[in-house]
Symmetry: C2
């Protein structure tokens, strides 16, 4: 938590991963992010994993440091309150469809006279309005059919989905950026923006930006399967004598020289250079093109040493490497978590379960970060926000609660799901 954005209020009408992530990054930088949800919880309120009390560990991490307003978004009155909140605030992040009640034009039309010109970021599926989610855009991207063991037959290899919803997280970060870019433009000109970011465009656009699209068109066919090898450079996973699996990479001359030393392979590699008439120090290309021969040498050398020795040798030679962890190992790894200033305590989680929580990925030397803030209970800030942002009296809010248009904190709700 740093206070770089503490002048900013954002209404977030969100579900799933990408859209809450955009709000999360802003909240971790000090923005007041007010998530507005259907009064019984949005579509993601019961996303796995659930605690025994029915609280979502997914929701409570993607919505840290936000406020929560719970409205009956299925009623006209609840929707009007949501639009009014966005309009008065002037900034909105959402993944509701353009044709929903929360269109940019509806928010703009509801703006009071002196509100900053409406700026909204809308996460869509595909550019043409078709629905999509991380796993479906990923299927279109080409990556799943390139993933998995090298020796699978290209013609029959099944797709392998990445478990990380990478497109959601790229889109979330990009939308936080796009919002600030649009606000910078508004600060300079007074002009707000409607910004639409299709998840599908993030995927196929990344295929283009990475150079992979140009590559496919240039070669006129698919790339050969690589397994766990790094495209265009030297790197792959290896196994030590005692069975530890680790990834190594050597992209710079220094990394390559260090790796050869760490594996004590100067001799055999010199012989291979003579045999193949290449110079492996000349750059990525000879190392990548002859990777199978090199991998053989490195794997044989790895199998002659235990991990502790290999790790010490690679560390002392400044190599770039990492041991594979399972997710459970990673969560319990002191180097990654307990001893990492990224993490702080988070004792007030809605689930009641205590565990380390992440601060912003960015750290600012010389400024002390606050501890990570917990996610709200659903509706925890309904009264506060309706009073502050819309000027409603406590009597008026009480009537809305009685009418079922507004819900208050679900702290004492017991979920059976």
């Amino acid at each position: 938590m740093y206070q770089l954005l503490n002048d900013l209020s954002i209404i977030e009408v969100s579900s799933f991963v990408a859209s809450p992530t955009a709000g999360l990054y802003c909240a971790q930088m000090g923005a007041e992010v007010i998530r507005v949800d259907y009064k019984a919880g949005g579509l993601d309120y019961d996303r796995y994993m659930l605690t025994r009390e029915g609280r979502s560990l997914s929701w409570e991490n993607l919505n840290r440091a936000k406020k929560s307003v719970a409205l009956d978004l299925r009623s006209g009155e609840g929707r009007e309150l949501c639009v009014e909140l966005a309009a008065r605030t002037g900034q909105c992040i959402t993944n509701l469809p353009e044709k929903s009640f929360l269109s940019h034009s509806a928010m703009k039309a509801a703006q009071p006279e002196r509100a900053p010109d409406m700026t909204s970021v809308r996460i869509m599926g595909w550019h043409d309005g078709r629905q999509a989610m991380d796993f479906t855009v990923n299927a279109a991207s080409g990556y799943p059919l390139m993933t998995g063991p090298e020796d699978w037959d290209m013609a029959t290899a099944p797709p392998v989905n990445q478990v990380l919803p990478a497109w959601d997280f790229i889109t979330g970060a990009y939308c936080a950026f796009a919002l600030l870019a649009a606000l910078r433009h508004r600060d300079a000109t007074g002009e707000g923006s409607e910004v639409r970011v299709p998840l599908g465009d993030v995927a196929i656009g990344t295929v283009a930006n990475s150079g992979m699209m140009a590559e496919m068109l240039y070669r006129g066919s698919d790339r050969e399967r690589l397994g766990n090898a790094i495209w265009g450079a030297f790197g792959r996973d290896f196994r030590s004598k005692d069975g530890v699996r680790f990834m190594v990479a050597a992209l710079t001359p220094k990394q390559w020289d260090g790796l050869v030393e760490a594996f004590d392979l100067a001799g055999p590699i010199g012989e291979l250079e003579t045999e193949l008439e290449v110079d492996f120090s000349a750059g990525d290309r000879p190392r990548f093109e002859n990777r199978h021969r090199l991998f053989e040498l490195f794997q044989t050398a790895a199998l002659s040493r235990d991990w502790a020795e290999l790790e010490a040798r690679m560390a002392s030679h400044g190599c770039t490497f990492e041991r594979y962890r399972t997710a459970h190992e990673a969560a319990n790894d002191p180097v990654l978590v307990a001893d990492n200033p990224l993490f702080g305590p988070s004792p007030a989680n809605p689930s009641g379960f205590e565990y380390p929580a992440a601060r912003s990925f960015a750290n600012l030397p010389g400024r002390a970060p606050d501890d990570p803030a917990p996610a709200p209970f659903l509706g925890q800030h309904s009264e506060e926000v309706l009073a502050e942002k819309l000027g409603l009296s406590s009597g008026a809010i009480g009537k809305l609660v009685d009418a079922g248009t507004v819900a208050l904190s679900d702290k004492d709700t017991i979920y059976h799901r």
Copy 2:
């Protein structure tokens, strides 16, 4: 290309993927992004894939719409010029180590009196200074040991690396966001910022933000293998009678009902509900928990129909689905590329090869986007930038070129690599 950031100049001293991506997103929004490189090209100047003329298709896509200045960054004089450029501009994105010549304090010390207080974003490996790259932080994250076929034995399953360098792209987008957040703070207070973003923290922090870390600590063990299934919801890949592989997902009630209709499975699913005493309409949980039985029904139904029929049925029922493409198919798919307004022509690529290029992922209805701009030739803007930003005369620049401190456009260079 939209002009939301056209008041902004950024010095980018970059290589590989994350750092150039941060600059690319800013450039696609209209910022003047000046990439400063070693005069013979940075570490990524020959990244695969290379054309027959030795031009990198990776480099020319990750550096679109930027300017290029080529300096002898191994000499004191070249380094001073680089620091001075960053200091005068006031904004810098880099992945050079903090202990390099381009430390934040060095840039700050070189600032002329009226320059905006230095704001720099530095991409690091791990938070503690250890080197890392996408593939190595991924090894630590836990994802590779969760990826791949469901029937692989948990105890012996090899890691499966994701081919997409997802951590690089998340980090790139996040750094573009962090830069604008720091600039917003400077606009409000006059105070610049040093912002450090460790790639490793983006990875392990995402594990936390996604709820996966809490999940692992809560369950006290690793998650079961899922293969291509979606965690906590209904979704997997299926194969049609004519062998087309596709992904389907149903997270909302509407998506689920549509899918059951599209696959004509109301009867068998009703029977299964009776047998298992569950209601699959009740939410993600019963569908996920009984996924193997459901997958069996859907796969059998899929195998009784050709893809054309399945696709038409799923489309008419508003399902969320996508056919798997290879990367080569994706690049040639008109729906994804040729007919997608994300893409525009890019005729002036350094490689001379013409192909569609991506605009910003964000589109702004009501504003016409410019066509994607090509990447520069290395050093193409050395003279222009040194004259404009540092006020050097053409005579002074000529001397620097003669001395080998500055290089001009490599347009006519023939690479043998």
